[in-house]
Every structure is written in structure tokens, then in C-alpha cells.
């Protein structure tokens, strides 16, 4: 298969214009001994063969729509995506466009991003949103970069909840390894304490406090007290939030959070074996100049038409180079569009219905599961659509048993918290029917 449209005769004519004899003559600057290596790759497939080959690969997986019943969440959630979403994403005008550096011919992308910013700011209860980050984990790391820049590197401490997604904690560690920063508070022993216990770590050297909402174990806490405490010491607070939960819960903005980030995959993006997803980043207007990532602002063109441009670009790498807050130069444009279409086509009431279904089904599941002998809920704190279930056996064994019955049971918390090796993190969404939940309960009766 080739996508090169040039005929042999045209090739000859073009070579003559350039003044070389053959295509290979264009590469004289390349060291001869390394020129034209023989690549050991499989021979080219036609489109028909490629489609069949990829289809075979895809079918050799067991997927959560056709093959398995899934109660797996832990940062990636199986939700219904209305048909309209993918129809819009498949428009070539959106997906084959570049970053909107030429606003006169990119107003579609720019207005869509502006609307995304507005939707996310309203959802989180914050003043402003940027155009998005790679994922929830890197958005969390960028929150640290904002705080680092805010204090010009003079504050060196991160206070981090142990109930922040373990992979997010890993990414923050990787991102900050050159900054000479200490991270405290995330010891496993703090897991069962109230979040207020984190306040004992907040000092005058603390740049940022990071908590998750609901937390990784599914618990809902009101973080107002810890936010007030952090502000008293001059530290910023970043709340890592689940967007579906925010459809129902008090906003982090209402609690006084400085930065709200998270993973917007639940809004119209398939679980896709982990990506690409959509990190969102919202903050207070006072931090907008320190925020990384693209930002779209409203303006007017010379004809007096309302229009949109990338703005505050002086913060970004192509202008500031080594003094930029971040090296980021993409957003997740197309997926921000997916989230916007998702929110628009479900609308305020449809979104409330999604949140309510998740809430109701998860509570039904938790209630039924905790009636089983040997099973109980890890915490009595309120939860939304994900909860921690204590099992009579190691979660790995429970999961294996469930998998033999075609069920993905949940996330084995023993992977990250040795003390919780008998605990499953169970997620329930609108995709799980009562029959599926009842089947899960039935199978676990026999374990």
C-alpha cells in the first residue's frame, strides 16, 4: 500500500527540475556507510490484509463489552458514549487539522476548545481551565510545576495523600526528580486516618497539598478544613477529581481548592487499553499566568466578528524556551472535543442521570456484597461509584476465581498497599445491569 500520488513520469520531471538523476542522489549528505540500511520488517500488507490482521489481533483480546463483565475502574471507567460523539470526532475537519496557530482558518477548533474550557470550569467550580493535558496523572504533575513556579522554587515540600492514585504518585515522583523536592504524607499507615491528619505535614516550606476526590479507595471527604489549613501556611491545594462524581458532588471550587485536575476519560472517551485519555486542569484566575498548557481566549477579528485565539502564549516553550513552566506543546485537542460533545449531547439532565445511575448501582452492589459471609466494606465513609471491599481471601485469588466465571472483579489493592492484599476496589457504572451485579454476588457466594 502506498499513499504517494506521484507517477513515474512525474517523478522523472521533478528530478530534472531539482537537478539530480535519481531519488537516491538526494541523500549525498548522509554518511555513505550508513546510507540505505536494509530494514528487517515484514513485507507490506494491502489495506484489506491489514484490516484482517488488525481485526485478528483485536479479537484475540477479551473485551468488556462482548466477552467479560467488568467491575474494574481505578482511574479508567467503562461508560456509555452517545453515538453523536464519535460521529463528530470522525469529521476530517476536526481530526486532520493541526494546532490552531492560524486562527483565521481554525475557528472550529478554537471555539470548541473555548467551550471545553467553559464546561470544565463550570463543572469543577473554578475560574479557568486550560485546553487540557495528556492525562490525569501528568495534569497532577503539572499542578506541582505551577506551585513550584508560584514559589520560584523556594518551597520544596509536597504533601501528598496516600489515597492519591498510585500511578499518579509515581508520575509526580518521576516529573519532579530534578527539582530537589521532598514528598511527605503518603505512607500507607496514613491510609486509615482522616484526611485532616495530613495537616500535620503542612509547613511553611510546603508548596502544594494533593488530595483525591473521591479518593483512590472511593471515599468522599469534604476537604474544606485541610484547604483552610494549607492556605494558613501559604500552600496551594490541588484536588484530583473524578468528573462523573463532580456531576453530583460539591465542587472542589466550593471547598476553596486552588487547582482541580483529573482524568476526563469518563466523558466520552473509550477505555482503549489506557489511552489516549484527557487530563483536565482548572484553577483560579490569579494563577493563570503560571499555568502550563494551551489556553484559548475570546477576541474580535478585523471585521468585527467574535472569534478566538490561543492566548498568553508568552508562557509557552516556543517563546520562553528554557524559562517556560513546562515543555508541553500539545493538548489532547480531539479528546477535549469528545468530552465537550459528550457533555453537550447528554446535557445537564442526562449527565445527572448518568451520575445517579452510577451512584444507585454502586450502592446496590456494595449493599449486596457486604451481606456475603466474610465480605465487608473497608470504610463507612460515603462513596460514589467505586468502593473498597474487604474479602475473606487475597484479592488476587478472588479475581482469578471471578475471571474463570467471565467477570473482571475489580482492582487488587494489594498491588500498591501490602496491608490491603485482601481488598478489591470495585467500580460500578451505568453499564452494569442488575443482572451483572447479581451474578457477581452469586459467584462470590461460592468462593
Amino acid at each position: 500500500m502506498t499513499f504517494i500520488p506521484t507517477s513515474p513520469a512525474e517523478t522523472e520531471a521533478m528530478l530534472e527540475t531539482v537537478g539530480v538523476k535519481s531519488l537516491d542522489d538526494l541523500f549525498d549528505a548522509v554518511p555513505k556507510k550508513h546510507r540505505f540500511p536494509k530494514l528487517n520488517l515484514p513485507p507490506a500488507l494491502t489495506e484489506m490484509e491489514a484490516a484482517a490482521h488488525l481485526s485478528d489481533m483485536a479479537s484475540s483480546n477479551e473485551n468488556v463489552r462482548q466477552d467479560l463483565v467488568s467491575f474494574l475502574g481505578a482511574g479508567a471507567y467503562n461508560h456509555y458514549v452517545p453515538s453523536v460523539v464519535d460521529h463528530m470526532l470522525r469529521r476530517g475537519e476536526f481530526y486532520t487539522a493541526y494546532t490552531p496557530y492560524q486562527p483565521e482558518i481554525s475557528q472550529g477548533t478554537l471555539q470548541a476548545v473555548f467551550e471545553f474550557q467553559s464546561l470544565m470550569a463550570n463543572l469543577t467550580g473554578m475560574d479557568v481551565s486550560n485546553a487540557s493535558h495528556y492525562d490525569g496523572a501528568t495534569a497532577t504533575a503539572e499542578a506541582v510545576s505551577l506551585a513550584y513556579a508560584q514559589y520560584r522554587g523556594k518551597r520544596k515540600r509536597i504533601v501528598m495523600s496516600p489515597a492519591l492514585h498510585p500511578q499518579y504518585r509515581d508520575v509526580v515522583d518521576t516529573y519532579t526528580q530534578g527539582m530537589g523536592i521532598e514528598t511527605v504524607g503518603d505512607e500507607e499507615t496514613n491510609l486509615t486516618l482522616s484526611p485532616e491528619s495530613l495537616t500535620s505535614y503542612i509547613d511553611e516550606n510546603t508548596m502544594i497539598v494533593i488530595v483525591q476526590y473521591p479518593d483512590f479507595l472511593g471515599r468522599i471527604f469534604d476537604y474544606k478544613k485541610i484547604i483552610d489549613e494549607a492556605h494558613a501556611k501559604g500552600a496551594l491545594v490541588c484536588v484530583v477529581a473524578n468528573p462523573t462524581a463532580l456531576l453530583m458532588l460539591k465542587t472542589p471550587g466550593d471547598m476553596g481548592a486552588d487547582i482541580v485536575v483529573g482524568e476526563a476519560q469518563p466523558f466520552g472517551i473509550p477505555i482503549w487499553y489506557g489511552g489516549p485519555y484527557l487530563g483536565f486542569f482548572t484553577t483560579k484566575k490569579s494563577y493563570v499566568h503560571k499555568m502550563a498548557g494551551r489556553l484559548v481566549g475570546e477576541t474580535m477579528d478585523v471585521r468585527g466578528q467574535r472569534s478566538y485565539v490561543l492566548t498568553l502564549t508568552a508562557r509557552e516553550q516556543h517563546i520562553k524556551r528554557e524559562r517556560a513552566t513546562s515543555n508541553i506543546c500539545t493538548n489532547q485537542g480531539l479528546l477535549a472535543l469528545a468530552a465537550s460533545v459528550y457533555m453537550s449531547v447528554l446535557g445537564k439532565e442526562g449527565l445527572k442521570e448518568v451520575a445517579n445511575l452510577c451512584y444507585q448501582k454502586a450502592h446496590y452492589a456494595a449493599n449486596e456484597l457486604s451481606k456475603l459471609k466474610g465480605f465487608k466494606l473497608f470504610s463507612s465513609e460515603p462513596f460514589f461509584h467505586e468502593f473498597t471491599l474487604e474479602c475473606p481471601k487475597p484479592a488476587s485469588e478472588v479475581n482469578q476465581y471471578l475471571l474463570d466465571h467471565g467477570i473482571l472483579g475489580g482492582y487488587d489493592l494489594g498491588n500498591d498497599y501490602p496491608e490491603l492484599k485482601n481488598h478489591l476496589l470495585v467500580a460500578v457504572t451505568e453499564m452494569n445491569s442488575k443482572e451483572e451485579i447479581d451474578a457477581l454476588v452469586e459467584v462470590l457466594k461460592e468462593i
Partner: protein, 495 residues
């Protein structure tokens, strides 16, 4: 008041309108959460499905795209995105697999990732590849972290400076800045190569390494590349390759063979993953043996070898001195890796070489056509792109005016004002997927514009005039900082 071409999704909202509805609950009712945990308002739009569709279709029509026309944006490789990629990446087996599923249930995904790692190694001549980074800049940061970790593990702590040519992409110094390290800028010589004298003066035992784009952003393959790499290695530094311009090198030369230690790939440039209006990208990183143990974790590996009857059993492995995790889960699997895999599978070794041959032919052809009308500051056989000066003697026309005027002729402008070392730069990358007719029309437009610049400069200053929007007031946007819109009822309450 400004004229509104298309209202925002908030302005289209009207209380009581419904789009997609969800089914009724099929489980017994649970009491709601306590009031103090609930949000009071959900200020989001209420719109019917048809109006949502029309809104986004109207917005889409305000965009220029590769599907519509020529997009010669230098260093961005805006090639045609094959439609079959859009189908393969949406096969249910890819779309509906959870990143934390047991590995025995996702062997198809892991096989695809493993083979893609192997193919990228073969194409680039590297010893290892991570698919985790989300984009080019993310891959760069990954690379810089590995370089720093390498020196640190050896106890070589005085290395704090990165050498970066003056023609480099802004992400290079920004990645270094994120690490809190210093940058030493190395000038280019008169042929567009790295200035060897300046490089020699900068090479000492405080150097972490050098970040080099080759071909560079002038579109030039560095004629002394082996010497450059040798000098950096000799002082104990590592060589970073910015893979943004890899579209010139497929089957032509392998960066690993030249001696590079680490390089990021842009699957959204070279391997036809669409740009999506600014993302998602996909930025795998390849490394030489030197950095193999420092790759981010986890990588996909073979846990049990296969045989004639059975495929290998794939799973995750963690390199010995890994820098850690760069993002949650496994990288941009669906949108990035599946599309790139499809593309490479359809090309094979000869097809890949043809991509680079024609990318380079098209750039040289355009350069030859416009050479007598625009100054080409580094005029020799270029690779996949070239840089012209967008200015004329005795005229106040600038690169920006030329770019905007090109829109009137139905083209997307080239990258302008980059690289910084060429005044009024127009950086032109046609890619291999354009035919001779398109290139001729584009060259004709550029030549016509050069004439207009002399005789009717106002046409350029006032351009674009045939597009739906004219030039924007960027100062107003930055000064007023209107970054959000609101529901009409909320807006009224605010003002």
C-alpha cells in the same frame, strides 16, 4: 458589540431541552448522599441532539484540514491520514479493553505493542523503545530524565549543562529547564551545520549531552554528523536526537547507527497518526544500549517464548534503573499505537523508504520552483523541508503577510518565524502525500504573492480577505482574558 458567526454551546442552551436520555435505574433505590456533600447547581447546557450536531458541524466547517487541502507546515509533517487507521483503532477488541485487565486477557494488545517496539527499533537502529510518552515533548522530557539518571548513577554529578543548537525547537531548552539544568546554545555555520569550533569550545566534563534535530529545522542534514556525535561522546556527553524530522530518514539512515543515544519519535508526524487539532500525539522514545536500563517502566516484553504452534506470552517488564513512570497506564495505545502499527504494516521496508524519498523530492522540487523569487539562506539539497525568507528588499511585507495571503489562495501557510536564526522565516514541508499538481499550484501562488508584494502590497497587508474570518486582535485577547462563557441565565445574573 461583535457579530456572532456561531453561538457558543452555552448560548444555544434553553432550560428544559433534552438530548440523549439514560435508562431508568433497575436496582432498588438508595438514599442520596447527605446534603452537605452535594453540589447545589450544575451550570451546564441543555440542548437537543440535532442542535448539538449542527453546532459542531458548523464549527468543523470553520477549520482548514489535511482532508481539505495542502498543509505545508514545516516540522509538523502534515501528511494524509489514511482512513483505514480510523477503523482499525476502533475495533471493539482495542476500544473496550481496560488498561488494568489481567495480561492473559489482552495478549492481542500486548503483541501489537511488542511488535511496534521491535519495528521502531529496527527503523531507528536503537536497542530499546518505550511507547509510554504521550507526545514529542513528553518523549523529550523522558529522554532528558534518562540522560540525567545515567550520569547520576555513575556519580558524575558535575554535569549540569545541555548543548542545544540555535536552530532547535523550543521544546528542547524547555525540557532541560524543567530539570533545572542549564543550556548552552551552539550556533550554526554558513552551510546550516553545527558550528564545530563552537561545539569544541563547549565540550567539557560539565556537559550532560547535546540535543540535536537532524535533519535540522533548516531542513539540512548535518554534513558533519558523525564528527559532532564523536565530539560529544568524547567529553562524556550523551547524544539526544529530536525525531520531529524522522520523515526524511525512513530507510535512508538509522539514527542509532549514527551514534545517537536517545531519540523520540512523533507517531503523529512520521507514522500518520492524525494531529486532531492539537493532539493527542504519541511520542515513543528509542535508546542505545547505554540507556537501555533507564527506560520508563513498564515496557512490554516476552514472558514465555513461543514456538511453532503457540504465540509468545507477553507481559510487562521493568528496566533495572528505570526513571519511573511518565504517565498513567501504557501510553496512547488506541489513538496512537494502533494507527501507527496499521500504517507501518501497510508499508514494509520499501514502502517506508519511498515515503522519505518522496518527502525529500517534494521539498527539493518546491525549493527549486521558488528559488528565484524568495531568498533561500541555506541553499543546497534539502531534506524533507526548507526555509525561505519571507521578505523583499524595499518592501514592508513580512512573512506573516505572505502566510495570511496564502489563505486567500486556498492553502494553509507554512510555519513562520521559525527557526529563529532566519529572519522572517517561512518553513515549508510538503510531505510525500502531495502530487505534482498541488506543488505546482502552491509554487505559483508563492510566486504570484512575491509579485503582489511589489505591486499591490495592500493585498498582503489586508489578507486574508476570502476566508470567513480576518486577522484577530491578539492583544485584546491577552488583555481582557475572557477564557470562559456561561449560560445565558447565569451571565445575566453576573452583569
Amino acid at each position: 458589540m461583535s457579530t456572532i458567526i456561531e453561538p457558543t454551546i452555552f448560548e444555544l442552551s434553553s432550560p428544559g431541552r433534552r438530548g440523549v436520555k439514560m435508562p431508568a435505574s433497575d436496582v432498588p433505590q438508595t438514599d442520596s448522599l447527605p446534603q452537605h456533600l452535594l453540589r447545589s447547581e450544575l451550570p451546564l447546557p441543555e440542548i437537543a441532539e440535532v442542535d448539538v450536531v449542527r453546532h459542531y458541524v458548523k464549527l468543523s466547517k470553520l477549520n482548514y484540514s489535511v482532508d481539505e487541502g495542502f498543509y505545508p507546515l514545516g516540522s509538523c509533517t502534515m501528511k494524509y491520514n489514511p482512513k483505514i487507521n480510523e477503523d482499525t483503532c476502533r475495533y471493539p477488541g482495542f476500544l473496550f479493553t481496560h488498561p488494568l485487565q489481567p495480561i492473559e486477557t489482552v495478549q492481542g494488545n500486548l503483541a501489537l505493542m511488542f511488535e511496534l517496539q521491535e519495528w521502531l527499533k529496527e527503523i531507528s537502529g536503537f536497542a530499546g523503545v518505550t511507547l509510554q510518552p504521550a507526545a514529542g515533548a513528553h518523549g523529550e522530557y523522558t529522554g532528558v530524565l534518562m540522560m540525567a539518571a545515567y550520569h547520576k548513577l555513575r556519580g558524575d554529578t558535575k554535569r549540569t549543562k545541555m548543548l542545544i543548537p540555535d536552530a532547535a525547537h523550543g521544546t528542547n531548552p524547555a525540557s532541560v529547564g524543567m530539570m533545572g539544568m542549564g543550556v548552552i546554545t551552539i550556533p550554526s555555520d554558513s552551510r546550516g551545520n553545527v558550528d564545530l569550533k563552537a561545539l569544541e569550545a563547549a565540550c567539557d566534563d560539565t556537559v550532560i549531552g547535546m540535543m540535536l534535530t537532524n535533519p535540522n529545522t533548516l531542513g539540512m542534514f548535518d554534513e558533519n554528523i558523525e564528527k559532532v556525535i564523536e565530539m560529544v561522546h568524547k567529553c562524556g556527553g550523551l547524544m539526544y536526537g529530536d525525531g520531529a524530522n524522522l520523515n526524511a530518514l525512513l530507510g535512508i539512515v538509522r539514527p542509532g547507527d549514527l551514534g545517537f543515544d536517545v531519540m523520540h519519535f512523533n507517531l503523529h508526524k512520521t507514522f500518520s497518526v492524525p494531529h486532531g487539532g492539537g493532539g493527542p500525539g504519541c511520542g515513543p522514545v528509542g535508546v542505545s544500549k547505554t540507556l537501555l536500563d533507564f527506560l520508563p517502566s513498564p515496557l512490554v516484553g516476552i514472558l514465555e517464548e513461543g514456538n511453532d504452534d503457540e504465540a509468545p506470552f507477553y507481559g510487562f517488564v521493568t528496566p533495572k534503573n528505570s526513571i519511573g513512570r511518565m504517565k498513567a497506564f501504557h501510553g496512547h495505545f488506541g489513538g496512537g499505537m494502533v494507527r501507527a502499527y496499521t500504517y507501518i504494516a501497510m508499508h514494509g521496508p520499501d514502502g517506508l523508504k519511498a515515503i522519505s524519498q518522496y518527502a525529500v523530492l517534494n521539498a527539493n522540487y518546491l525549493q527549486a520552483k521558488v528559488r528565484s523569487h524568495y531568498k533561500i539562506p541555506f541553499d543546497r539539497i534539502c531534506m524533507h523541508e526548507f526555509v525561505a525568507e519571507g521578505r523583499f528588499e524595499g518592501s514592508d511585507v513580512r512573512a506573516l503577510d505572505i502566510s495570511k495571503r496564502l489563505m486567500d489562495y486556498g492553502f494553509h501557510p507554512p510555519t513562520n518565524y521559525f527557526p529563529l536564526i532566519v529572519p522572517e522565516a517561512l518553513m515549508i514541508e510538503p510531505t510525500e502525500t502531495e502530487n505534482k499538481d498541488t506543488l505546482d499550484k502552491f509554487a505559483d501562488a508563492l510566486i504570484k504573492i512575491a509579485e503582489e508584494a511589489k505591486n499591490q502590497p495592500e493585498l498582503l497587508h489586508n489578507a486574508p480577505s476570502t476566508t470567513k474570518f480576518g486577522r484577530m486582535d491578539e492583544v485584546k485577547a491577552a488583555r481582557e482574558l475572557v477564557l470562559c462563557c456561561w449560560l445565558p441565565e447565569d451571565y445575566e445574573a453576573m452583569v
